[in-house]
């Protein structure tokens, strides 16, 4: 079991003939993801990386029966491509692109909610159900299958945490990189109910950072759902008013501080370790020592 995606998920790659799209589509195929086709306007009818290319998402869905898509389209056109995928009826759409204007994404997020589409991103590493399906740009080899669900606003920090979990013997059910922009299709709170229902997931790791209030909302929901969880917050020592790389990682006035996020989690009974070693200790407390397989 897993959430959102599994070995049967059929994936389209939008922007498959571009440099990034091409590279990561191949990586996804090598990982075992069922990539059934690609979309590049003007290149319909061609075959790329062994899969058919279409001019529109609608055509691609008709021909392949795809149910998910990953978007590698450049920032000025990414929101439109994402909107096209939602309109074509896909249930999971993941926008990897960084630098999408906020005003472009706000209506697309609303469209996704109305269509019941799980939009992930933009500016995110994607999602992965280890051993089954990777819709993203993360290095597949560090992931392993197991009981930990993971949700994160940061790509590389996720890799670091996953690597530590895997090395300690704790595999993952599904990992969702929700992205670092101020406006996102999926927040922690959107993933938690899925993990709570999933039989394989025994606990959740949440990796947050400064800016916004997604962590505070997540903390309240963790408590409500009663799902065992551990959280980490990056940017505890970041100065206010400075954007730390991610467009969404900024403490504005008194809003979005690490201290408020840590407090929200601790009030909800969720431990917030400061190091990877601390993370493994907390996971071990919740799950017991890992069983060798």
């Amino acid at each position: 079991m897993s959430i959102l995606i599994d070995k049967n998920t059929k994936v389209l790659v939008q922007g498959i003939t571009g440099k990034e799209g091409s590279f990561h589509a191949q990586q996804m195929i090598d990982y075992g993801t069922k990539v059934v086709g690609g979309v590049t306007p003007g290149k319909g009818g061609q075959t790329h990386l062994g899969v058919p290319v279409f001019n529109t998402v609608e055509e691609a869905v008709k021909a392949t029966g795809a149910d998910a898509s990953i978007v590698f389209v450049p920032a000025p056109f990414a929101a439109d491509a994402t909107s096209e995928a939602i309109e074509a009826g896909l249930k999971v759409v993941c926008c990897i692109t960084e630098g999408v204007p906020i005003n472009d994404m706000v209506p697309v997020r609303a469209q996704a909610i109305e269509a019941g589409c799980r939009l992930v991103g933009p500016n995110c590493p994607g999602l992965i159900t280890p051993g089954e399906c990777k819709i993203g740009i993360m290095p597949g080899n560090i992931f392993s299958s197991g009981p930990v669900g993971l949700i994160s606003r940061s790509g590389t920090l996720t890799y670091q945490a996953v690597d530590a979990l895997t090395r300690a013997g704790f595999g993952q059910s599904t990992c969702v990189g929700i992205g670092g922009d101020p406006i996102l299709g999926t927040y922690f709170k959107d993933c938690l109910p899925h993990f709570a229902k999933d039989e394989k997931t025994k606990m959740v790791v949440l990796i947050g950072e400064i800016g916004g209030s997604a962590e505070e909302e997540a903390a309240a929901l963790v408590k409500e759902l009663g799902i065992p969880a551990v959280a980490m917050i990056a940017g505890r020592t970041a100065p206010p008013g400075k954007q730390m790389g991610h467009a969404g990682a900024i403490v504005s006035g008194s809003a979005g501080t690490a201290a408020a996020k840590v407090k929200a989690f601790e009030d909800a009974g969720v431990a917030v370790p400061e190091t990877m070693q601390g993370l493994i200790e907390e996971v071990t407390k919740l799950l017991g020592a890992p069983v060798a397989n």
Partner: protein, 377 residues
């Protein structure tokens, strides 16, 4: 991107929003000339990219052109929270009856734009939100239908107000929203929005920031960017396409991915060091980008040593290692470096580094401890 009050007001004026008469000056003489032309009592206001200038003495009133020259002399060159004042806005002083607040920004939690209006203007809106939240009305705008008349009514009928003021406020809401959308603002705020003793509604201040991701479609805004206001190293980083923020410590930090770099800053602090900067090389960095990053971080004279924290996904460890080795050769580095390299091609990368005699660490924690020990003296 941040702009000055006078630039924000210029944008408002273009949209037809009433603002006090005035102009920007770079010298006390110019300020005096503007005051003379206005022929009224004036306010001389420091133009600087930081809040709280009033409290810092950056706003002064002047009754005559001569006095305006004197006040401008005091303000130009003044230091406000580490920034030097280069320009002042000289504008007609207004007799204020009421101070209101009007702002539009993104409500991240709801994923919509939100209009905020309060009868408590002239103070920090966050303070109002905390102490008297009942004095703020927030109206979310459905992004796909845009601003509708009923949104404006919700703002205008939220508090007791005269018919004339309600009508004027409605126009302000409509125009500010138009500006916010047309220029891809991240915030458009008028604080205070004043009602004068003679019954006019005016934008007495303007805070307009833009979404950096959308600047590519607004070449007209480029001219408004004031590089002199920014840290020279941050300007250089921008030209190199690097996400760099200067901090005030002595441990240079370079990593890949915003979250990982933030995590590294936290870790260096935890073990007793102070980071000199945030630098994210981004995904898939080439050796050249790594060399450039190293050169940039080392050009900060406060830096005593540099910590690299790389967890390779699309970034390759061997490529990073090559960039570091190349950097040590070209830059003649006499400061300690500690490299933590994991992920894609980590073995190859570590070999390149150890062959060049560069210190590596297995984990972020170990790397942070090493660099802090090496830079402590």
């Amino acid at each position: 991107m941040i702009i000055h009050e006078y630039q924000g007001k210029e944008l408002l004026r273009e949209m037809g929003v009433p603002i006090p008469g005035g102009k920007v000056a770079q010298t006390p003489e110019e300020a005096g000339k503007i005051a003379g032309e206005l022929g009224t009592k004036v306010a001389v206001k420091a133009q600087v990219h930081v809040g709280g200038r009033g409290k810092a003495g950056g706003i002064k009133l002047a009754g005559s052109a001569e006095e305006a020259v004197a006040k401008a002399k005091e303000i130009i060159g003044m230091d406000i929270k580490g920034l030097t004042v280069h320009k002042v806005l000289v504008e007609e002083a207004i007799d204020i009856e009421t101070e209101l607040y009007l702002g539009i920004t993104l409500d991240r939690a709801r994923g919509t734009h939100v209009i905020m209006f309060s009868t408590e203007g002239g103070v920090d809106i966050e303070e109002v939100a905390e102490k008297t939240p009942e004095k703020i009305v927030k109206v979310a705008v459905d992004p796909r239908r845009g601003l509708l008349d009923h949104h404006i009514r919700k703002v205008c009928y939220a508090f007791d107000m005269s018919k004339e003021n309600r009508k004027a406020l409605g126009v302000f809401v409509k125009t500010l929203y138009k500006l916010y959308m047309a220029k891809d603002c991240s915030i458009a705020e008028i604080n205070p929005l004043v009602v004068t003793k003679d019954g006019r509604m005016l934008a007495a201040d303007a805070k307009v920031n833009f979404d950096g991701n959308a600047l590519y479609r607004h070449p007209e805004l480029e001219a408004m960017a004031e590089i002199s206001e920014e840290d020279p190293l941050e300007v250089k980083a921008k030209e190199m396409g690097l996400a760099y923020v200067r901090l005030d410590g002595e441990v240079g930090i370079i990593g890949n991915g915003a979250g990982l770099v933030m995590g590294t800053l936290d870790e260096v602090n935890r073990v007793g060091g102070k980071p000199a900067n945030f630098l994210d090389v981004g995904g898939g960095a080439s050796a050249k980008v790594v060399t450039n990053s190293l050169s940039l971080v080392l050009s900060d004279p406060n830096v005593k040593g540099v910590l690299f924290n790389i967890f390779g996904g699309i970034t390759r460890g061997d490529e990073v290692a090559k960039g570091i080795v190349e950097g040590t050769k070209v830059l003649n580095i006499d400061k300690p470096l500690v490299i933590r390299l994991s992920g894609t091609n980590e073995e190859e990368g570590r070999k390149i580094l150890s062959d060049a005699g560069i210190e590596t660490a297995a984990t972020m924690e170990e790397a942070a401890e090493k660099i802090v020990a090496l830079t402590r003296n």
